[in-house]
């Protein structure tokens, strides 16, 4: 078996994945619709030999996202941006998010087959079943389907799409299932990769089954190494029952790196980014609308919410004041974890010369996903640790502000990982499957007899 190597994708919300990334001085606030800019950033990660560029998607918009996820309010449709990005690159995989709940298998199979031809074997489908309940209203539906319905539909959908990719005049599909009736054949030739790479992201049991059965890459959202290891082991353990080796599935959690030449500079950038976050007055500690990613209910950005989480009442405190050490001493387990996390990121503590503030607690409390702040060595150590511990086969890199954080990661961290022999110094092939070490699948239909 060949040596395990890291895989990297760039999670591309063009304004940055940090809710205020677009406000960072060097960021391009109008990036989402500037295709030439998107092409330049893609070329940057291609030069760093990234496996893929990841185009997330949502099927609704809501102006209230502007304080929490401005990059996700509006953007280019991902097949359009994906095809334009393919035109400006030669090796990097192009991941397009498409939600089967609101697509049709014949159309989707055609679009991915087309993108795979145009990109000469670099297309990939991020199969998600949808995070936005409000999307239903844009597609003539009464309501968001529940998990069982979404995954029943998705399971049949992906089988139809694979069947269409393999179909031809001799073996058209003639699929008749619970949800779909599709005659076929597809009128686009079989994709260069056979089947474009399939990514999947989700958390439920149904999602894990779909991932173990159908995904080549799984994009995971766990924030801590313990939860990531458990997820990793669980999904890989399910692969066998579908006749797959666990090495055929790459599990890539999201990771937000804030990296600079020195630790001190990295912390300063992290603080600078967070200084833009608009906090809320104390009083209401309940769930807010949408903080963080994916439209899940979020947390209030105030000390009332922090108090509820840590088990000590700190509401009404001056947010810029250093936190009284008593608070840590009296905090519950979640609270102690929050303090440790804030200290890990900011290097500030309740004692010593550099003291952590109440504001730091609010920011720490609302943060989602895994974050690492530091110099090249510290960030590479973090990555290597997750990789060695089998919490990850690589990462979907969340660039908090664009393009500078991408330049910092590719310029500082990638060379360090290459020195350590953990990451490729060049592409060994030209298709996305090549980067993942996956063979081109033979047709699953029994048209071998017709050859």
């Amino acid at each position: 078996m060949s040596k395990r190597e890291l895989h990297f994708g760039l999670m591309f919300w063009a304004g940055g994945t940090h809710p205020s990334g677009w406000r960072y001085p060097s960021s391009h606030a109008g990036a989402a619709f500037d295709i030439e800019f998107l092409q330049r950033v893609t070329q940057l990660v291609e030069a760093a030999k990234f496996d893929f560029l990841f185009l997330g998607d949502r099927l609704a918009s809501d102006p209230s996202l502007q304080t929490t996820n401005p990059s996700q309010m509006s953007r280019l449709e991902p097949f359009v941006s994906g095809a334009s990005l393919a035109a400006a690159t030669s090796h990097i995989g192009i991941v397009v998010t498409a939600n089967p709940t609101y697509y049709d298998p014949y159309n989707l199979a055609r679009m991915f087959a087309s993108l795979d031809h145009l990109s000469q074997g670099r297309a990939s489908w991020n199969l998600v079943t949808g995070a936005d309940e409000i999307a239903a209203g844009n597609f003539s539906r009464q309501a968001h389907w529940d998990t069982e319905r979404r995954y029943d539909w998705a399971d049949e959908f992906v089988a139809v799409v694979r069947g269409l990719w393999d179909s031809d005049a001799i073996t058209p599909l003639h699929h008749k299932g619970r949800y779909f009736e599709v005659a076929g054949p597809l009128n686009v030739k079989r994709p260069p990769q056979g089947h474009p790479v399939i990514l999947h992201a989700g958390t439920s049991d149904r999602s894990r089954e779909l991932g173990a059965r159908d995904a080549d890459v799984i994009f995971a959202g766990q924030a801590t190494i313990e939860s990531a290891k458990a997820y990793y082991a669980d999904v890989k353990s399910r692969a066998g029952k579908y006749g797959r080796a666990d090495s055929e599935i790459a599990i890539l959690p999201g990771l937000t790196p804030v990296v600079a030449e020195t630790t001190q500079q990295a912390v300063a950038i992290y603080d600078h980014l967070n200084s833009f976050i608009a906090l809320e007055p104390d009083g209401d500690g309940g769930e807010a609308s949408r903080y963080g990613s994916l439209g899940r209910m979020g947390k209030r950005r105030n000390l009332t919410a922090v108090s509820a989480a840590i088990g000590v009442d700190v509401s009404g405190q001056n947010r810029d004041a250093p936190v009284d050490p008593i608070v840590l001493a009296e905090a519950n387990e979640d609270g102690r974890r929050l303090f440790a996390d804030v200290t890990r990121l900011t290097r500030r503590d309740v004692k010593g010369p550099d003291r952590l503030t109440y504001r730091d607690l609010i920011i720490g409390h609302i943060s989602t996903g895994a974050i690492v702040v530091g110099d090249a060595k510290e960030v590479a150590d973090h990555i290597q640790h997750w990789f060695d511990e089998r919490a990850a086969d690589g990462f979907n890199i969340f660039p908090p502000y664009v393009p500078e954080s991408v330049e910092a990661f590719t310029g500082l961290v990638v060379p360090e990982l290459q020195r350590r022999g953990l990451y490729r110094t060049d592409y060994s092939g030209s298709t996305f499957r090549d980067h993942l070490g996956l063979a081109k699948p033979g047709p699953i239909l029994s048209n071998a007899t017709s050859l």
Binding site: S20, W22, R23, P25, S27, A29, G30, A32, F33, I35, Q39, R58, L59, S61, P63, Q66, T67, P70, M73, S74, R75, L76, E77, F79, V80, S81, G82, A83, S84, A86, A87, Y102, Y103, D104, Y106, N107, R110, M111, A113, S114, H117, L118, S119, Q120, I134, G137, N138, F139, S140, D168, E181, V182, A183, G184, P185, L186, N187, V188, K189, F276
Partner: protein, 363 residues
């Protein structure tokens, strides 16, 4: 004397009357790129990437992906992609068209096709339905698309780094559309297209399609074999336009021609009637173009050679210079968007508030 013309190009390998040379591979991105760039160099106003979801034979790549791939590989040529309203969700196709307009900086168009011309129900679990139903869906989807394109006003993005205001929520509008086939809340999740509204094209071959084009299309492509039939289709389009209170000059009228260049006697017999076959030497073809445009007032021609690429190469080499010599070809003339090139104005946003009126001036 007839006015100078725009040229559009029909890319439709392996469907209708178009085939391709063995040396041209419709799935090869290099071949596609050079095709688009050569058309741009020859002065074509747009490349129409046709599509079919009903024909079983594998032919080419899907139109919007293809046009998007060509977007930044070209600079001036309009890119019109076909999508069939009988088999798409309105929110999806509206986004595709709006996004294509962004990546082309305003050179996008959408050829609205329906299941009448390209029946494909068997691939979509749909029973065949009547032409009127296909057109009813097309009308609804276009209505939804036009509202969604306007759902973000041009200046909805504030992007003020100092204040942290990213958008002005008052300039983003739900559309709350409820129709016979679709319910769409909106808003779209794409900024308003650079052209305001993406250029809409429709193929006109009969009364029903003429009616639709007259009511909705910026470009009507008239497909008939003779000048008389083309004139009749044109009259139907104009009648429908005025019935919908649109001005005649808001619809650009193109006739589809199939040039077959060669010595006079070698001209092939036309097999189809949905286009005008012009055959013979370049001089004779241009004579026929002049005869056609003297007989029928047209804004342009959709050139649909029978064989890709050789048919295009011969047309660019022999016919285009002759059209230029006779001052029959319109150039880009410094325009940037397809709308500007076709001399169509940028539509006002239906949601745009009138400037707030002061009580004194309102009274």
């Amino acid at each position: 004397m007839a006015k100078p013309l725009h040229l559009g190009f029909l890319y439709a390998p392996q469907s209708g009357h178009q085939t391709h040379d063995e040396s041209f591979d419709p799935l090869n991105p290099i071949h596609l790129t050079s095709l688009a760039r050569d058309l741009e160099g020859a002065g074509f106003a747009f490349l129409l990437v046709d599509d079919s979801v009903g024909h079983a034979a594998p032919a080419r790549s899907e139109a919007f992906t293809t046009a998007s791939f060509l977007a930044t590989r070209t600079r001036h040529i309009g890119l019109i992609a076909a999508a069939n309203t009988s088999y798409v969700e309105p929110y999806n196709v509206t986004r595709l068209a709006a996004s294509l307009d962004h990546v082309t900086h305003g050179r996008a168009g959408w050829l609205v096709a329906t299941g009448v011309a390209d029946p494909a129900g068997a691939n979509y679990g749909q029973a065949a339905f009547a032409p009127d139903l296909h057109y009813q869906r097309a009308e609804e989807i276009l209505d939804i698309a036009r509202r969604l394109w306007d759902s973000w006003e041009d200046d909805a993005f504030v992007r003020d780094k100092r204040s942290g205001v990213f958008v002005d929520g008052a300039k983003i509008h739900p559309i709350d559309y409820i129709g016979a086939s679709f319910t769409v809340k909106g808003p779209l999740n794409v900024a308003r297209p650079p052209q305001g509204q993406v250029i809409v094209a429709h193929r006109v071959v009969d009364r029903r399609s003429a009616e639709f084009a007259g009511r909705h299309a910026d470009i009507a492509i008239l497909g008939a074999a003779t000048a008389g039939d083309i004139a009749a289709l044109r009259a139907n389009v104009i009648a429908a336009a005025s019935g919908a209170r649109r001005e005649e000059q808001h619809v650009r009228l193109f006739a589809e021609i199939v040039p077959v260049i060669g010595p006079d006697h070698a001209a092939g017999a036309p097999g189809a009637t949905s286009a005008s076959f012009l055959s013979g030497t370049a001089t004779k073809i241009v004579d026929e173009i002049e005869a056609l445009t003297n007989a029928v007032t047209l804004d342009g021609l959709l050139v649909a050679p029978r064989v890709l690429r050789s048919g295009l190469d011969a047309f660019s080499r022999d016919v285009v210079p002759e059209l230029v010599r006779r001052q029959r070809l319109l150039s880009a003339n410094g325009s940037i968007t397809l709308r500007e090139r076709l001399n169509l104005s940028r539509p006002r946003n239906i949601f745009e508030h009138k400037a707030p009126q002061h009580a004194s001036t309102a009274g």
